[in-house]
Amino acid sequence: MSKNTRNTAFRKVDVDQYGEEVYEEDQTADEGATGPSDAEVQSMLAKGRNGDALQYVLTNAPLTSKNQGVKDKAAQTVLKVLMSLKANEIEGSLKGLDQAKQDTLMKYIYRGFENPSEGSSAQLLVWHDKLFAVTGVGSIVRVLTDRKRV
């Protein structure tokens, strides 16, 4: 018989990927989303405009970007802003947030929990508590189910 019948490579093919109903993550990635600029945030924090800094980082959160480096950098910036706000200022800054920003903030709080450093978890727990008082369980559910990870 001809030689090609000995080729058993067909056994290694993953046929499941060719099924019609295979779920594919949303491929459209917004390459323009570069996240908040560090310099901008630094200047706002230096001037003491902590509430504005929070608004800025949440508006420019790189949710649609596929670049992990961009997301990591943004997460660090947000963590810096969250640490800088004192306990009594937190409630005030939460008042100005709409639902989308509250969900993004909740995502960043959980992201911050993943890399605990000196005293960061204690502060994040306070943030979590105050934000939960405003939003309720809904925002946690949206964090769990949203495909756009922070």
Binding site: D16, Y23, E25, Y110, F113, E114, P116, S117, S121, A122, L125, V126, H128, D129, F132, V137, I140, V141, V143, L144, T145, D146, R149
Partner: protein, 168 residues
Amino acid sequence: MSTTLQPYLKAVRQTLTAAICVENFSSQVVERHNKPEVEVRTSKELLLTPVTISRNDKEKVLIEGSINSLRISIAIKQADEIEKILCHKFMRFMMMRAENFIILRRKPVEGYDISFLVTNFHTEQMFKHKLVDFIIHFMEEIDKEISEMKLAVNSRARISAEEFLKRF
């Protein structure tokens, strides 16, 4: 440090209440099978974002959800060698009897000390808020029990050493 305990448990409770919403979902891959999707992990669309809540770098809880099941992994504070051994033995004792515990997993997830697996069948038979209460209570009691055991070990060691050395 203990001032973070209550907020920590509160945050875990709130996250668990949100994540424990599971419903029945048969396997999409194998017909007539029903598997906890958080363990099988074959279909990405059925899995929720895993979420961590940490009190410090030693104590944290990982909550991984899916459509029909929830996996909760707890990393317990172990300050010194003796606590490590006690914790390990205690967890092993419980995990060997996982069948009677119902929601306990026989092996902890990598990086954690103990894991629970709650499926839709469990939530159908038991109250969700009671399951959450149980896990929070468990987290509170574990630290107390390990401290108690450590004290007991130390006092026993002291007494037996005293008795032994009286002969010399």
